[in-house]
């Protein structure tokens, strides 16, 4: 019984982590879209670097999501 409970509990936890990862990845995509919109509104010397920062952030979000799917 406890073994079965553990299995159900950790499966549930894994689904929660994957959901959180998906939501975060969507947030990272929205952040990139927003950086584009913000740069249209105001162009500064940092525009290129911020765009790269947005993409690096998205890559990390995807890697973490993959970690949740594969290793949990």
């Amino acid at each position: 019984m406890p073994v079965e409970f553990n299995h159900i509990f950790f499966s549930f936890l894994k689904i929660l982590f994957i959901l959180a990862g998906i939501i975060y990845t969507v947030f990272a995509v929205v952040a990139i879209r927003q950086i584009h919109t913000m740069q249209k509104s105001l162009m500064t010397s940092l525009s290129g670097k911020l765009k790269i920062l947005g993409y690096v952030h998205l890559v990390f979000a995807i890697l973490v999501l993959l970690f949740f799917i594969v290793s949990l």
């Binding site: 950790f10 975060y24 952040a31 950086i35 919109t37 913000m38 105001l42 973490v64 970690f67």
Partner: protein, 225 residues
């Protein structure tokens, strides 16, 4: 003997007087701008005559940014402290007995998600601060608001539509760090502009008044665009 025409003498003098740039022109009528050095730092919250190429989407031909303002960095201290607190928090995870009941990969997952949330929060806070700007050009005042990642509001009014300017500095921190809110009443579609928590509100107000006087002069001289 009469002088013979010498073309080299004429060549030495410029045929057309060099036109001064708009950033030099502002120094002629603004005592505030004369005192300020051009800003080279893209993170400046008070950026007079910014040398970094600042353009914005509703910019008119020949319109130049004379002053760019952001919220004073001290107003972001609460967010900075929140991030610091969140960075330190994982060291106290060990105090929660439940944390050690989890398998190692779940512990790593919690840490990863936690740090990702910190990065997301920091990025969102920085972008909102960096792109939430107030611009004073030689023609207009522009208020670009990004209250969150999905809310954007851009308002503009011509300088000659400005009717009343009020600067409010209240509280200890605002007095110490010299920042405050400037209320600008206009006769434009948007009747009130609010430059929130901007540095040196007195200087900004003085500069806007100088701009108004210059606009009046231009009107009288028929130079207005």
């Amino acid at each position: 003997m009469p002088d013979i025409f010498d073309a080299t003498k004429d060549r030495a003098q410029p045929l057309i007087e060099k036109k001064s740039s708009p950033l030099e022109t502002v120094d002629c009528y603004s005592a505030v701008m004369r005192r300020e050095k051009p800003s080279k730092n893209p993170f400046d919250a008070f950026a007079p005559k910014p040398l970094m190429i600042y353009t914005f989407d509703s910019q008119l031909d020949g319109e130049n940014v004379l002053l760019l303002l952001r919220r004073h960095p001290i107003t972001q201290i609460s967010k900075f402290l929140t991030v610091l607190g969140m960075l330190v928090a994982p060291f106290f995870f060990s105090q929660i007995s439940f944390y050690y009941l989890l398998a190692n990969n779940f512990q790593t997952a919690i840490l990863l998600l936690w740090y990702l949330i910190i990065v997301g929060y920091s990025l969102e806070s920085f972008l909102t601060w960096f792109y939430n700007v107030y611009i004073i050009t030689d023609e207009r005042i522009i208020d670009i608001d990004f209250l969150s990642l999905i809310y954007r509001n851009v308002s503009a009014a011509k300088i000659d539509k400005v009717e009343d300017i009020t600067a409010i500095t209240s509280g200890v921190t605002q007095s110490i760090f010299d920042y405050g809110t400037i209320h600008i009443q206009t006769a434009a579609e948007k009747t009130e502009f609010e430059f929130e928590d901007v540095p040196h509100p007195t200087r900004v107000t003085q500069f806007l008044n100088e701009m108004l006087v210059e606009e009046e002069k231009e009107k009288l001289e028929g130079r207005i665009k």
